[in-house]
Symmetry: none
Subunit: 216 residues, 4 copies
DNA sequence: GATGAATGAGTGTTCATTCAT
DNA sequence: TATGAATGAACACTCATTCAT
C-alpha cells in the first residue's frame, strides 16, 4: 500500500527503465516532423513527459539523441534484412515478392521512414550517414540484387543488370513511403504501399507493352 | 572561395540587377546542403559575395528568401511541363519516352532537386508546400497519367491504372535524383540518371519475366 | 556595481520569486534614464544581476517588460487615489491640502515619475498610454475636481471651474517632479516638492477663498 | 524655357538652400513624435523628400541633426525672451500678463514643444541639455522672477518668493503644452492654452495682490 | 533520478553611416 | 549636389546546456 502511494505521487517514475526509449520515440517523431535544427529539446522533453534536464541524464547532447533515435529505428530493419536473405527454398520470383512485401510493410510502419530524416540531415551528420548507407541501404540493395541474379541464373528472369533493377524496384516503395510521411496533408495517397509495390512488381515482371516482337 | 573574381575594384555596384538572383542561387545551394534552419544568413551572404545587410535589401527575411529560392527554381520546370504536354503527333510510347527523358535531364541539371528541399522542409512551410504540390507534383503526374491513358486508348499498352503507373514511373528518377544530391559522397551512383530512366521504362514496357503466355 | 552582495555563493537560485520584481525595478530605472529604445536588454539584465536569458524567462519581450514596469509602478498610486477620495469628514480646504500633500509625497518617492516615461514614450505605446490616461490621469484629476467642487458647494471657495483648477493645481507638482528626475544635474531644485505644492496652494486658496478675514 | 524643363525634371532642386531647414523641420517633428532612438534616418529623409545620403550632406550624423533641430527651434524663443524683458513702462501686473500670454502663444505653436523632447532625451544628451537649461529655462524663469520682484517692489504684490512663484506660474502652461503634444489622442484638451494661463494668473494675482477691494 | 532556473553563445534583423556613381 | 546600394556593428531574442537543489 505504502509503495503504491509513492507511485501515485510520482507518476513519472512508473517505469524508469523505459525513460530513454520514451525520449527517443518522442524525439524521432519531432525530428521527423520538423527536422533536426527546428526541433527544440524543450519540445522533445515535453512530448516525452519529462523536463529538459532529464533528457541530458540519458543523452549527452542533442546530436547524441539524434543518433540514438536513428540507430534505434534502424535496428529492427537490419534484422529483417537478414531474415529475408535466409529462406532460400522458394523460387526467385516468390522470394522477390516476399522481400518487396516485407519492405513495404516495414516502411508502412511509421518508425520506418528514417529515410526522410536521413535525406534531410545527411549533409549535417556525415558519419551517421556513412553508417546508414553501409548498414541499411547497401545491404538491402545487395540482397535484392542477389535475388534478381538468382532469378536470372535459374532462368526465371531474362538477363538484366541486377543492381540497376534493385534500385528501380526499391524506388516506388521508398519514395511513396517518404511521400506519405511528408505530404500526407497536401497529397494524401489512396493506395496501400503494398498495393503499389505489387502493382510495380507485376509490371516489372510482365511489362505492359502489347509487344508484337514477343508474339513472333 | 570567393566566386566574385571580376570587377574586384568596384565591389559596391558590381552588378546591381544581378544581386537578387545571385543571393537566391547561393541560398538554394546552402539550404539544399544543410537544410533551412542550419543555414545561417551570414553563410548565404558570404557565399553570394555580399554581407548580411545586403540580403535584407532584397528579401524581407529568411523565410521570404527561402520561398523566393524555391519559387525561382520551380519556374523553369513548370514551362517544361507545358512543353511536353503539347507535341501530340507521336505515338504514346514515343511521347512517354520523351517525357521521361526530359524529366531525367531536368532533374539532372539539378538547379533544384527542389524535391529534396521540399521533403525536408514541407512540415515547416505548409503554404509553400501546398503551392509546390499543386503546381509541380500534381501537374507532372497528371501529364504522365494522360500519356499512359492515351497509350491504353490507342491499344499500345495493356489496360492499367494510369495514376498508379505514373507514380511508379516517376519514382526511380525522382528518388535517384534526390539520392545523388544527398548521398553523393557515401553512395556515388555510376549510372546516368537518364540511363536508369530508360532502363526502367524498357522493363516497364516489356517486363522481365520470360513469360510462357507471351511466347504462345 | 553589483547590487547583489548577499548569497554570492548560490547565484543560480538566490531568490527565485524576487527575480521578476528585481528585473522590473532595474528596467524602470534604466527606461527612465535613457528612454525605451536606448535601453539595452543587456543593461537591464546586468543591472538586475542576471543575464539576458533570465529576463526572457519572465517577460516575453522588451515591450512586455516595459509594460510590466509601468504597470507595476502605477499600481500603488491607484490605491492612494482611492484612499484620498474616502475621508470626507474634513473641510474641503483640509482635504484639498491633504490630497496635494499626498501627491507631492508620492511623486517625490519617485518609484516612478512614470509621468516622465509616459510623456517620452506615449507615441510608441498607444494602448499602454490609453490605460495610463484612463486609470491614473483622469481619475486623479476627477478626484481633485470633486474636492474643489465640494469646496464651492460648501461655500468655502468662490465659484470656479473645478476641472481647470484641478489641472492648474496639479501642474507645478507634476512638472517639478518630472523636472527633478530629468534635470537634477543641470538645474537642481532646492525646494522640497511639498514645499512648492503648499506655496502654490496657499496662493491659490488666497485667490479663491471667500476669506472671512478679508470681509472684516 | 529650356531651364524650366530642367526644373521640372529635378523637382528636388527647387530650392537648394532650403534643404537643411526642410530636413531639420522633418526631423524635429519625427523626433518629437517617436523620440530620438525610435526615429530612423530613413524616415526623416523620406519626410523631408530626400534620401538618406542627402541628410549626411548637411549633418555629420544623427546626433548633429538632433542638436541642430533643437537649436533651431530654440532660437526664436530666445529672441522673444529678450523682447519681453525690455518694455518696462507698464505696471508689473500688465507686464506679467503680457509675458504669460506671450509664452502661452509661443508654446502653442507646435515648434514650441522642444520641452517634451528635452525631457525625453536629457539623459542621453548632457551638453545639449546644459545649453538648453542655461539659455532657455533659467533665463525665462529669471525674467519672470524679476517681473514678480518688480511688482513686490512697486507695492503691487504682497512680498513672496519670486523664484518659487515663477516656477509655479510657468508650470501649468508648460505642462499643458507638453500634454497637448503628447496625449492629444487620449486626453484632448478643450481649453486654449492661453485661456488656462489667464485663468491661473487671475487666481494667483488674486492670491498675491494687495487688493484694494479686499481692504474695503 | 529528476527538476527547472539560469546561462551565454549564437543568429536573425535593424539601421546609422559610407561611398561610387 | 544627390543618390541609393552596400556595409557592419549593434541589438533583440532563442535555445542547447549546466547545475544547485
Amino acid at each position: 500500500m505504502e509503495t503504491e502511494v509513492t507511485d501515485i505521487n510520482h507518476p513519472r517514475q512508473r517505469r524508469k527503465e523505459a525513460r530513454p526509449s520514451e525520449i527517443v520515440e518522442a524525439a524521432l517523431i519531432l525530428f521527423h516532423q520538423k527536422g533536426y535544427s527546428a526541433t527544440k529539446l524543450d519540445d522533445i522533453a515535453h512530448a516525452a513527459g519529462v523536463t529538459k534536464g532529464t533528457v541530458y541524464l540519458y543523452f549527452s547532447n542533442k546530436e547524441a539523441l539524434f543518433k540514438a533515435a536513428i540507430s534505434e529505428a534502424i535496428h529492427p530493419n537490419l534484422d529483417k534484412i537478414e531474415e529475408l536473405a535466409s529462406n532460400s527454398t522458394e523460387s526467385a520470383t516468390t522470394r522477390l515478392r516476399t522481400a518487396i512485401t516485407s519492405w513495404a510493410t516495414a516502411l508502412n510502419e511509421c518508425k520506418g521512414s528514417i529515410s526522410k530524416l536521413m535525406i534531410s540531415e545527411a549533409g549535417n551528420f556525415p558519419e551517421l550517414t556513412d553508417f546508414y548507407i553501409e548498414t541499411v541501404v547497401k545491404r538491402s540493395r545487395l540482397l535484392l540484387a542477389k535475388l534478381i541474379q538468382a532469378g536470372v541464373d535459374s532462368g526465371e528472369f531474362r538477363p538484366t543488370d541486377p543492381d540497376l533493377l534493385a534500385r528501380v524496384l526499391f524506388s516506388p516503395i521508398l519514395l511513396t513511403s517518404i511521400w506519405q510521411h511528408t505530404y500526407a496533408r497536401q497529397d494524401p495517397i489512396t493506395y496501400e504501399l503494398n498495393q503499389l509495390a505489387q502493382f510495380h512488381l507485376d509490371i516489372v515482371l510482365h511489362g505492359i507493352a502489347i509487344a508484337p516482337e514477343h508474339t513472333l
